[in-house]
Symmetry: C3
Subunit: 456 residues, 3 copies
């Protein structure tokens, strides 16, 4: 019995000593936890406020800036991806080593979000393009506002097919334009001022965008009428397939000058593949564009008011990007167009560009980039005819943060050496019938360049 009493006492003592320790400690711990809770609550608010503020604004941009010199150590002139006679028709060639302009896009976005999840986005884009290498360009500046629009989405009162739709208005580049970067040409470039709906879900596999864009063609001197082209577009996506249909009307365009088209149709059918032509990782895009009348300007839909009423044009494109060996990447591209009765009833133009860019990743930060470009032209403006070929070969030692990140990792800092030549038949040829139209001039030029290019 004594022992069991003892046992009780001991038991108590131990227990109490355990409890006493735990209690003081716990109180202190509790205080520290309470402090933490208070501090964390404040810090959470600070972090949330900081994220909200930082997220309300976004800065995006594109820029290239560099210089080109010829083999006499003078500035190279007349170069660029649209340097050939077919360039006036949209016949771009490989851009690497040909650009000496300073082209910038400054995009400032303001975003807001309501508690119900609805959002708004406002975008303004300033752009500039100058040739001079000097730094004060007040006299040559082209700085201008290329986009200014607002978009709202995830709207509580939108449901059904419109549940995920967003609505926009203003001046803009269409969201779903896409390009062949390597030849600096969009496949489609729908733009102007208008209003539209994105992402209307017409069925489980069918999403569509609807828009009306207006563009200015100029003023009729005699009447003061402002001729505008209104382009209605339905752009459909079904899995990897895209079918984009546009109709347009510019009521009094034929009064600006005889025989100009006042309506047009435009269609694009494209296949966006998640692989390099089914052969390897990467992607590829292939398709065809067709247009008549005002729709015969196939890239910049509805942007050309000088087209003939009988104009017809068809364009093929295909390009892709893949790796073909350790540390080697390749990006072939094809763009070809046939058009007739484009500006006058008897003209007929055909051009086809094949371009290939290859990158050899030598270190994490350095790669050699090679580009070969070929263009065939057979051009007949109704008065003069010329056909022939254009060739370009470029090698570009290139620095970047991570060569393994691929063709679209930027910034790139590069020096370039290019050789450019073409058929003599093309030297003095111009698509334009105007007397002072610029021509290709003589080929056989060696060009050295230094350039940065970035986007973000």
């Amino acid at each position: 019995m004594k022992k069991s009493l003892l046992s009780l006492a001991v038991s108590f003592a131990v227990t109490c000593s355990g409890a006493a320790w735990a209690q003081g400690d716990a109180a202190e711990l509790e205080q520290r936890i309470a402090n933490l809770e208070q501090r964390l609550e404040k810090s959470e608010k600070t972090a949330d406020e900081a994220l909200d503020k930082a997220s309300a604004f976004e800065f995006h941009g594109y820029a290239r800036s560099g210089l080109l010199m010829d083999d006499n150590l003078n500035g190279a002139t007349g170069t660029g991806p649209y340097m050939t006679a077919a360039g006036a028709l949209g016949g771009a060639v490989g851009r690497l080593g040909l650009e000496d302009d300073h082209y910038v896009e400054v995009v400032l976005d303001h975003k807001s979000q309501k508690e119900d999840g609805s959002w708004s986005k406002y975008r303004i884009m300033l752009a500039d393009s100058v040739e001079t290498n000097n730094e004060w360009t007040g006299a040559e500046s082209q700085l201008n506002v290329r986009q200014v629009f607002a978009e709202i989405g995830n709207l509580a009162s939108f449901s059904g097919a419109f549940e995920n739709a967003s609505i926009w208005a203003g001046k803009r580049f269409d969201r779903d334009n896409f390009d062949i970067h390597f030849i600096d040409s969009d496949i489609v470039f729908l733009s102007g001022t208008g209003i539209g709906l994105y992402d209307v879900q017409l069925s489980e596999d069918w999403k569509a965008n609807f828009s009306i864009y207006g563009r200015d063609f100029g003023t009729i001197d005699s009447s003061g009428v402002e001729v505008e082209n209104y382009i209605a577009t339905m752009n459909n996506y079904m899995g990897p397939w895209q079918l984009m249909l546009s109709g347009m009307t510019a009521a009094d365009n034929e009064e600006r000058s005889a025989d100009r088209a006042d309506t047009g149709l435009h269609a694009l059918l494209a296949y966006h593949a998640g692989s390099f032509y089914g052969m390897s990782d990467g992607f590829s895009k292939t398709g065809v564009l067709f247009g008549t009348g005002l729709g015969a300007e196939l890239k910049g839909i509805g942007s050309n008011g000088s087209l003939n009423e009988d104009a017809q044009a068809v364009r093929l494109f295909s390009y892709g990007v893949t790796s073909f060996a350790d540390n080697w990447r390749i990006a072939p591209a094809l763009l070809a167009e046939y058009s007739q009765d484009r500006f006058v009833d008897s003209d007929e133009f055909m051009w086809a560009t094949f371009n290939v860019r290859v990158a050899q990743e030598l270190t994490k930060n350095f790669e050699m980039v090679y580009e070969g470009s070929y263009q065939y032209m057979d051009l007949d403006n109704g008065v003069d005819q010329a056909d022939g070929s254009y060739y370009k070969a470029t090698i570009a030692p290139t620095f970047k943060l991570d060569t393994a990140a691929g063709f679209f990792e930027r910034p790139e800092i590069r020096v370039t050496a290019s050789y450019v030549d073409w058929s003599e038949d093309l030297d003095n040829y111009s698509v334009s019938l105007s007397d002072d139209a610029s021509t290709m001039g003589e080929g056989g030029e060696f060009i050295i360049g230094m350039q940065m290019e970035t986007w973000f």
Copy 2:
């Protein structure tokens, strides 16, 4: 005994196990708390740094962008809130459905704060205004710097009446300008380059701003003298009352052309009500402006160097905003002016605009907006006289994030249909005496529009 020994043993075992648990756990908890404390300290710093960085920069803006077409599907011309003959005198009409310009203001603010609480704010505003719906506007661009100023406040060495005062210098729009949004007209628009003090507390109920603004009127060809107008303003606030007094002098303005004013006086008396004319929630603003000489330009104080030395003008304004039923809002506005001897000794101008905008909130994201606008004009430029009326009716289906947030919630995405007409007597009338002055032309026009408008 064996059992009580057992009991002891058991007791110990349990107790020790309890104590051991508490101690080990406490140590572990303590460690976790210590870790939390460390991490939180770092995270607090990160959050503070992020907030500081995000707060040092602010992006604000205003933008409208859209297009207008007439009933022939051509671009509508000559429209806008200042489209009437009285527009040249500042006689604005309701803006809804009349704007086809792309006007943007890009405001970039840099803010800093010292540990003593004193702050600085630097603002630069870029602005642009073009008509074309095309997206490359290098040739038409008006992009320019409208504001660039710095302001400092909460200064340690400012006390007494100046304790809450801030001081600024540079080119700016005055902070306390205010407008009737619906007709795109400021009540007062004081601006230019200068220096000033805000928020000097002259007594418990009396706050005042002081400023000197300079504006350029042009150069005297013969002497090369640059004529500038210097405007000294005292702007007083007593409860809802505002009394703004300005005097100005442009020393050699009469040498630019005979009879031009070289001094001026300007006064504004306004009542800023926190209710809709005392009748319902909302707000209203009512007042009168008066000016002589260079002060007879009543909106843009001191901005017009062409005023006659005997010019006199008086302007009344009143507008307000309220809800008048579930999901219905209304905003009536009145602006009227009488002026005489404005540009020449014998001219006499009177115009009065009444505008009403009504919104019918149909869903959270969609409302119908209606605007009716009427302007009466009786204009005599000293040579020609005309009087008559202008009418406009507009209906505008409008999308926005939250219709219940009211008339000033943006962005708004709208389509508009308007009918505009006026008295024939006004067709060929112009306030200007110059031969090539533009006139109102013929009325009776139906106009369709698509537009976004935002500010933030």
Copy 3:
């Protein structure tokens, strides 16, 4: 036995009660800690994301905006730090109280960082300079892109001397340009479009930058050749010493006009002291520049295509900043140049500017600033000769957030009163031989100004 069973029971009870307290409390604490851990993890991510977002963008700028009036209350004309006849040669004088322009630089930086620590920086700078005090400057706007470049650094594959090197390309002001702020003149201003390497560590104490910049001199009308000047520079730093060597070539510059230089050499030797001439706290910079041919434009290296082939120039500079008593600061500056055969074979120009700015800190937010400026000129353009002196005295009551932070704390908001005079001999003199070259005009002018100046 019963008791010992009891004892067991009691012991259990007590122990359990102790354990229950500790356990319940611990469990609760543990839960609170677990909650904290969860919340903190989320908050850390939010804070990190916010900091990343806020850090990816930086807004920097410079701006001055103000007005000047003469003692007739008209706008002051012809003023500015380059107002003297020697200004055309780069002979700046003290700027305080002489500036009535609105000059702004808007710098937008985009930064990114990879996990391996490598970073990229993209910068675009918009700049504008107008004179008018009015706020809509569409007609006078000079808004343009002065810089657009990308830079990458801390590259994984760069090692040895290049370990800390960064590489850049595009249009830019060189990173290591430096100026005498008080007379608005750079010591060297290397700029243009090119490519370069910064911070190559040639030895422990020797760091160097390498660059090639191109600049445009214009087009030869007859041949269409674009003459460009290519400037190769090695800029060395050894402790406080800087030796900057540049060579340049503009292949066909002599074909733009006879006797123009087509090559040039330029050297700068500078000593950057971490004290005010070894006498007191502050800093000072002293050095000499020398150039021949196209290198004879000593500030804007390679920027002047009009230099004569025999042109030679040498320039001395020294300036510093220190406190010389409680609440008093001083910044003396000297800039002097001798050049000959600059534009024609027989010209000879000498000018020397001495400027001193003194600040008297009266309160934390207010100081009186005084500036005295003197320039001696002895100018012979090969046809006309003039020599004489220019004097300026300015007093400027100045507001800022913290006067104790020194001469380079901004923003400053100031009013200025200046008296400016010069030798009569200089009144009608111009360095230029062109008939309509502007001259200094008559001196003896009193000028009042209001201005803000900031950078950040």
